[in-house]
């Protein structure tokens, strides 16, 4: 056992003893008051009874928040965890009070109610336990996902139990980060409605999952942020039957969803790069006829450029590529240096990413060759959607680079980019104010602060 586990154990032991002490003394008082009943001193009886009920109530109130913390039962190698809902807190306190009143008065109807309450707890435990057994989850998502665009996810739940159906299952995807709420917030939610938003943690709900079958749902989900969503597992949870106990079963899984930044119509950026629109139009006209290279045919290539001679020689479909005008090659440079002085840096950086993505999208669709240059990663010039997705992928993952953090990956500086391939047109997005002075017509610098 490591030290944390020992500490945990000590804490749990302490709580256990305090609860036991409180409930135990309540029980002793209940017995005392019960025997006092025979003597007929009713004031004393009432006094001890109330005291015992109060102690029981405190015991209940003390132990409920502890209960509401997640108790992981990994000891038994089940990946089950429990957390009490606010209803459970009410129910628990009610059960304890009814139990002590039963002992106090010796009234069998109270005993009966008490037994029913206990039976309800046990039964709901059994049912939810049964509901979560032998389940499998599978999630299918499209290859390319853009932020802020509806994405169709297909989430299927499979019940492998031969006889028993499962009820009311909520399935979520674990992405490593988890929100924890204390009991107070939960009680608040009970009265004021849920405060939280629907998220990746609660994707789909299956009201019924019959035995030996599979239910699949299609959910349209919108990722709000670009980036890499690491899927560490699935979370199947149920509050069935009465919503007293949220029982969670975690299934391990590995996978990642990469969400690209959402390209926007270029017109919205026109103001920031006035030269772009007019200038790009002119660059469309020139179309050189010099052979640049021969390469294998890929889908999307125009049939016109198939070189039949070469095809016959190599027995593969070959296309000719012609040299393009210099103006049709673009280098998009994104400087990821973090400048702490800049207000709203994070927000602006995101806008920069979107701008680069939009440019890449626009330029590619225009038929220009585009490459992305960032200090950490660089692509070659390329055409077509596959190349565009490559750029999107880098953009999806890029994060501002703090100067303090030393990374293993070799980086290149912006000045190096300026020296590279003087013939192409460079659009540089940078937070550095010093670059603004460049007079080169082929270099357009967009300051982050102006975005």
């Amino acid at each position: 056992m490591d030290s944390k586990a020992i500490q945990d154990f000590k804490r749990i032991a302490k709580e256990f003893f305090i609860t036991t002490f409180l409930l135990g003394s309540a029980l002793v008082l209940a017995v005392v008051s019960n025997s006092l009943l025979q003597t007929g001193d009713y004031q004393l009886v009432v006094g001890t009874t109330i005291l015992s009920l109060v102690l029981a109530g405190i015991g209940g109130l003390y132990s409920v928040p502890k209960l509401s913390r997640r108790v992981n039962l990994e000891l038994f190698s089940w990946r089950f965890s429990y957390s009490a809902t606010p209803e459970m807190a009410f129910f628990f306190v009610l059960t304890i009070i009814v139990g002590f009143s039963a002992i106090n008065t010796g009234n069998n109807l109270l005993y009966l109610v008490f037994s029913v309450l206990i039976a309800v707890i046990i039964a709901s435990g059994i049912i939810s336990e049964g509901s979560l057994r032998k389940l499998d989850v599978s999630l299918r998502f499209p290859e390319h996902i853009f932020a802020n665009q509806e994405t169709l996810l297909e989430l299927s739940l499979i019940n492998r139990k031969k006889l028993l159906p499962s009820f009311s299952l909520t399935v979520g995807v674990n992405t490593g980060e988890e929100e924890k709420k204390n009991l107070f917030v939960k009680v608040q939610e009970l009265f004021l409605g849920p405060q939280q938003e629907k998220g990746f943690g609660k994707l789909a709900h299956y009201s019924i999952l019959p035995n030996n079958s599979k239910v699949s749902q299609r959910i349209s989900y919108t990722f709000r942020k670009r980036g890499n969503y690491q899927i560490t597992g699935f979370m199947i949870s149920t509050k069935f039957p009465f919503g007293f106990l949220r029982k969670v079963q975690e299934k391990e899984a590995a996978g990642e969803v990469i969400v690209y930044p959402e390209p926007q119509p270029i017109s919205s950026f026109a103001a920031s790069i006035p030269v772009l629109t007019g200038w790009l139009e002119s660059s469309q006209k020139g179309n050189s006829t010099d052979l640049y290279r021969m390469r294998q045919y890929v889908p999307n290539d125009s049939m016109r450029y198939i070189d039949w001679k070469a095809t016959a020689k190599t027995r593969r479909l070959m296309v000719k590529e012609f040299t393009t005008e210099d103006e049709r090659r673009f280098s998009l440079v994104l400087d990821d240096q973090q400048i702490d002085d800049l207000a709203d840096f994070q927000e602006k950086f995101e806008r920069a990413v979107v701008l680069i993505a939009s440019l890449a999208d626009y330029l590619t669709k225009q038929g220009s060759e585009v490459r992305l240059l960032t200090p950490k990663e660089q692509t070659d010039f390329g055409l077509g959607t596959e190349h565009l997705y490559k750029i999107f992928r880098i953009l999806a993952l890029i994060q501002p680079r703090s100067q303090n953090i030393i990374d293993n990956k070799p980086t290149k500086s912006i000045s190096e980019f300026l020296e590279m391939d003087k013939n192409d047109f460079k659009i540089i997005v940078t937070p550095l104010p010093s670059l603004m002075t460049t007079n080169n017509i082929r270099i357009k610098v967009i300051s982050l602060s102006k975005l």
Binding site: N108, V116, V215
Partner: protein, 1090 residues
């Protein structure tokens, strides 16, 4: 879009039903006024229809809140001026809030609030009723609340996530099915209810109870304010007396009520003072609190000849503290918190206006003999005179009438009877009270109206008796009530309140009750279906009271003992089952080794086996069908399916070249799969063929491609070629590892299991054998210790026998005659034996009955049998074989019955003071027992000990009664020894039979028994040996020659001729005959003998 309509609808229905149920339960208590009822019902219906997104009837949450607050002043007005109680405003307010929440645009918390109101309504109803209908309503409510909570949970969880665009249910093989959500939800609700019920029952029974629950307080029981019964009697009111059918109490009797000579009335209070208008009891305040001793309040001492009646009272919450009980209560148990007894013979307890109380009382309902009562002329004490002869100044006609009526009656009893009968005959019963001008109501009743209710009759009788100097008083209580045969209880209603008269007889200190009311004053009970149903209902209610309401620590411990007993009885029956099974195994092994195969067992094994195979085949077939659906090629994967279907398929595809190609290609694939080549889904036939690197496959694939993808048809030669190629392929040895098919795995597993089973069976058999030899050794030791005791008849027995055994001759003959088959089996009088601990004098047979039994010839014969000097059943020669078998195995019950008659006789003689005769009768019993004890049949020996024990117990009791304690002690010890001896004998016989594993052990046992002069045991050993031999003739053929000497030696020592004769003849014949015949003959003879 997915349709969640059904779920929403289900949730709505459940919620509304729940709310309605809460309301209905409240209505059933009768506390909801008509207007509220109608208004709420209308509101419910309207809100059901308005519960839509865009309904105009819905109100905003704020409006609803303001309405709820602005209603509060009205609650106060309601409380002060309209309902003028707490309940009314509470009901109105909760209904009102419920209505406004119903019309709200409902969020989750509003639903919760509505449910809480419904729960509150139920709690309110609980405080207002204790009716059993409430329990039913509550059960329905619980069911509904469970269903609602489930639906609510599903609905809420659904709200927490994204609404799916599409949802579909697929079964195992991917076929889409409709998703029946509601069916599942309803089903699971019932399952949960069942589960909760199953958990609740044991939890309820097992939660430790710390106290005895004397009071069962319902959730606010309503008091039954008693109208009929009262602790004073007031005469003179005018008008109708209302009769209420409300149940006041239930009484359960321990004794079967139908067997009681006279059903008791339930006494409440007595009244002694009459002031001309009303009756009262001035001494009621002089009460003393009784203290419970050993859990019982002792009220009175029993009379000389008591007849106890155990009654358990289940009193509803009553406005009177009076404890009702049958006349002459002796004890009341301490389920009551307190008990007070007054000098006027009235019992009271604490106030229980809100509680049901349950108590058990014992009353002595025996009465002194009439002759004694009639003789009673003892003068009254001063106290009696003061209280029970008091008469106010009255019209002289009353005294005159009393004199006239009792003319001719001499004794107090006769006088009382005369007045009782006079009133009964000449006056009529009426609940409608009329008055004439007469001031004195009693005089008015006696001489003018001549009709009245029970109070008038009782008052008139008491006053008349007092006028002629007979002490009497009035008793108020209840009539016996309606008998409910379902659970042997009496149900007593308000209308059965009654007054009657008690007359005092000082000699025996008895208050005898008289009832002058004509029979019209007693309730008549109909027995129609409705009433019968009511009775069942009431029985269920009593069960509820018994098992739930009054369940306490005492009952809990009783229940746990019961459970323990049941478990242990199951355990012992399991043990005996295992034991029998072991013997059965052994026997069947023996039978098997002798070639005697039990047909029945074989048939069973055959049926079981074929059933197993059939199940297996069905299962295989199902698997196959399932597989076939998924991939038709799999059809060929099992050999028998290939044999069955392939020719048929070939014939069917004969004219379709493409299909036939698929067929042979599939066939090839199956063959290849067995060789370890599996065609992957992504492989084309050609690719696969190249991968296998088998020329046959390439060739076949070529054929396949040709036929499948063009219209070329194979000619006969080519077809032949294909067949041959496949065959060749099947025979070919390949290098690929062959995976084990599931079928093979199953086969392997089955054989492994059966091997294990065989191994287990062998081990078990040997263990069994070893165990057997161990048990036979044990048996030997037991017999040694048993026979070493060297039992001789005790001195006292010898002495007592000596007195009666005087005649020469064999007593067995008479006994055989007395017990000959065909005699009546049961001659003993019914009831407990007088010498038994639980002797009940009430169930005594009459003298005449007894005398008739004593004179029966078989009793005389038995008496005679005990007087002979010798007694040897084996000496009897002139009996039929059947009769002899009967005598060898005397029926215990018959003999004990006859011995009981003798013991009855001794009792009667003792009561009549004839001690000499009584002792002689005892001696006869002891003599009979001692004679039987020395018999050679274990059955009779054990019977002898039993008779001895029974006799000695009676003698011991007799000695106790005649203050001869020393003798009594000795007889008790004789009884104990006899019982011990008998039990051990039975045990030994069991051991001997258990030891039947090897006859060597048995022979030793036999020799031992003979040596120790225990003929009965020797006999048993012979029987066991014979049975062992019968089971295994090898023993007769081979074993006997080895063991014969020992056996013969033992036989020569035995003194009982019969055994020797039997065994010898067996042996002789067995040596003379051929092996097989010997065995057969032996078997036949032995069967006949034993």
């Amino acid at each position: 879009m997915i349709k969640s309509n059904t779920l929403e609808k289900y949730f709505k229905i459940c919620s509304y039903l729940l709310i309605t149920q809460g309301f209905l339960t409240l209505c059933l208590t009768g506390n909801v006024d008509f207007i509220s009822m109608v208004l709420y019902s209308i509101a419910l219906i309207l809100s059901w229809y308005s519960d839509k997104a865009d309904s105009k009837l819905q109100i905003k949450p704020q409006t609803a809140n303001w309405l709820a607050i602005s209603f509060l002043p009205f609650v106060y007005i309601d409380f002060r001026y309209i309902s003028s109680s707490y309940v009314g405003p509470l009901i109105h307010y909760s209904l009102f809030i419920s209505i406004f929440n119903l019309f709200k645009v409902k969020a989750d918390r509003d639903w919760v609030f509505l449910y809480l109101i419904a729960v509150f309504e139920i709690l309110l109803a609980a405080t207002l009723t204790i009716d059993i209908t409430f329990i039913i309503m509550l059960s329905i409510f619980l069911l509904l609340i469970l269903a609602t909570l489930e639906a609510f949970e599903v609905k809420r969880s659904q709200g927490e996530v994204y609404k799916p665009k599409e949802e579909k249910l697929l079964n195992q093989i991917g076929r889409a099915l409709p998703l029946r959500r509601i069916t599942y939800l309803v089903g699971v609700t019932f399952a949960i209810v069942l589960l909760i019920g199953m958990i609740t029952a044991p939890v309820f029974l097992m939660i430790p109870r710390l106290n005895t629950n004397f009071m069962a307080r319902s959730f606010g029981a309503t008091t039954v304010s008693i109208t009929g019964f009262s602790d004073v009697v007031e005469l003179g009111q005018v008008g109708d007396i209302k009769k209420s059918e409300q149940v006041v109490m239930n009484v359960r009797l321990k004794t079967d009520a139908t067997k009681l000579a006279k059903l008791p009335k339930w006494r409440g209070v007595t009244l002694s003072q009459y002031n001309g208008r009303s009756w009262s009891e001035p001494r009621r305040e002089q009460r003393k609190a009784l203290r419970p001793i050993d859990g019982l309040y002792k009220v009175d001492e029993p009379s000389k000849n008591p007849f106890l009646l155990e009654q358990t009272f289940y009193l509803e919450p009553l406005s009177t503290p009076v404890v009702f009980v049958a006349p002459r209560p002796l004890t009341v148990n301490n389920q009551l918190p307190s008990l007070y007894s007054t000098t006027s013979d009235t019992l009271t307890t604490a106030d229980h206006s809100y509680k049901q109380i349950v108590y058990t009382a014992y009353s002595d309902i025996s009465l002194p003999p009439l002759t004694e009562l009639k003789k009673d002329e003892q003068p009254y004490s001063q106290e009696t005179k003061d209280h029970y002869l008091q008469v106010p100044d009255m019209d002289e006609r009353v005294a005159k009438l009393a004199q006239d009526v009792t003319q001719g009656a001499t004794t107090r009893f006769d006088k009382a009877r005369a007045i009782e009968q006079y009133l009964k005959k000449n006056y009529s019963y009426s609940l409608e009270m009329k008055r004439t001008g007469e001031v004195d109501p009693l005089v008015d009743f006696l001489f003018n109206t001549q009709q009245g209710h029970c109070e008038y009759f009782a008052s008139a009788m008491v006053i008349m008796l007092r006028h002629i100097g007979v002490a009497a008083r009035i008793v108020n209580g209840f009539q016996t009530g309606e008998y409910n045969e379902v659970n042997n209880t009496f149900t007593i209603r308000q209308s059965e309140a009654h007054s009657w008269v008690e007359v005092y007889f000082p000699t025996t200190d008895t208050w005898m009750d008289f009832d002058p009311t004509p029979s019209a004053g007693f309730s008549q009970y109909t027995n129609n279906i409705a009433n019968k149903l009511k009775k069942y209902f009431s029985a269920v209610r009593m069960l509820w009271l018994d098992y739930v309401v009054t369940y306490d620590s005492e009952r809990q411990s009783y229940l746990s003992t019961r459970v323990r007993d049941t478990v242990s009885s199951y355990k012992s029956s399991l043990e005996s089952y295992i034991f029998n099974f072991r013997r059965y195994l052994l026997n069947s092994y023996n039978n098997f080794s002798t070639g005697q195969i039990p047909v029945k067992n074989l048939a069973i094994i055959g049926i079981l086996g074929s059933l197993t195979i059939l199940t297996f085949l069905t299962w295989q077939f199902r698997q196959l069908l399932k597989g076939w659906q998924l991939a038709p090629g799999k059809l060929f994967s099992s050999w028998w399916a290939r044999q069955l279907f392939l020719p048929w398929l070939r014939w069917r595809t004969k004219n379709n070249p493409q299909q036939s190609a698929v067929l042979f290609y599939n066939e090839m694939l199956v063959v290849l799969e067995k060789k370890g080549f599996k065609k992957q889904k992504h492989q084309t036939p050609l690719e696969f063929a190249t991968n296998t690197k088998l020329s046959e496959v390439a060739e076949l694939t070529n054929y396949y491609n040709n036929v499948r993808f063009s219209n070329i048809k194979l000619n006969q030669q080519e077809e032949k070629q294909v067949r041959e190629l496949i065959k060749k392929l099947a025979k070919k040895k390949t290098v690929n590892k062959i995976p084990v098919s599931n079928l093979k795995r199953l086969g392997l597993a089955t054989s492994a299991v059966s091997l294990l089973f065989l191994l287990g069976a062998t081990v078990f058999y040997f263990y069994n054998e070893r165990h057997m030899s161990v048990s036979s050794r044990l048996a030997k030791n037991q017999i040694l210790s048993f026979t070493n005791e060297n039992y001789r008849s005790p001195r006292l027995v010898e002495k007592i026998i000596g007195q009666v055994r005087q005649q020469p001759g064999n007593g067995a003959l008479d006994l055989a005659e007395a017990l000959a088959p065909g005699q009546p089996a049961e001659v003993a009088p019914k009831g407990k034996l007088p010498w038994d601990d639980y002797f009940d004098p009430a169930s005594q047979p009459t003298k005449d009955e007894l005398a008739k039994i004593f004179e029966r010839p078989e009793i005389a014969l038995i008496e005679k049998a005990a007087t002979y000097k010798t007694f040897d059943i084996s000496e009897l020669t002139n009996l039929t074989p059947q009769h002899k078998i009967f005598v060898n195995n005397l029926d215990h019950l018959t003999v004990i019955d006859r011995v009981d008659v003798l013991l009855w006789k001794a009792y009667v003689q003792f009561r009549e003071g004839k001690t000499k005769e009584c002792e002689r009768t005892f001696a006869l019993v002891i003599s009979l027992g001692d004679n039987l004890r020395q018999d050679y049949s274990v059955n009779n020996v054990s019977l002898g000990y039993r008779v001895l024990a029974r006799g000695s117990l009676a003698i011991a009791k007799y000695n106790l009664l005649s203050d001869n304690e020393d003798q009594a002690k000795e007889w008790f010890s004789i009884m104990r020894r006899s019982y011990q001896r008998r039990t051990r004998l039975q045990y030994l016989v069991g051991q001997i039979h258990l030891a039947g594993g090897s006859d060597r052990n048995l022979t030793e046992l036999f020799a031992l028994a003979v040596q120790k002069d225990e003929p009965a045991l020797a006999q048993q050993a012979t029987v066991a040996i014979g049975q062992a031999w019968l089971n295994n003739p090898n023993q007769v053929i081979l074993g006997l020659s080895k063991q014969r000497k020992l056996f013969l030696m033992a036989l020569t020592e035995i003194k009982k001729k019969e055994i020797v004769k039997t065994a010898n003849s067996c042996l002789e014949t067995s040596t003379k005959m051929s092996f097989f015949d010997r065995w057969k003959e032996f078997r036949e003879r032995y069967k006949k003998r034993f």
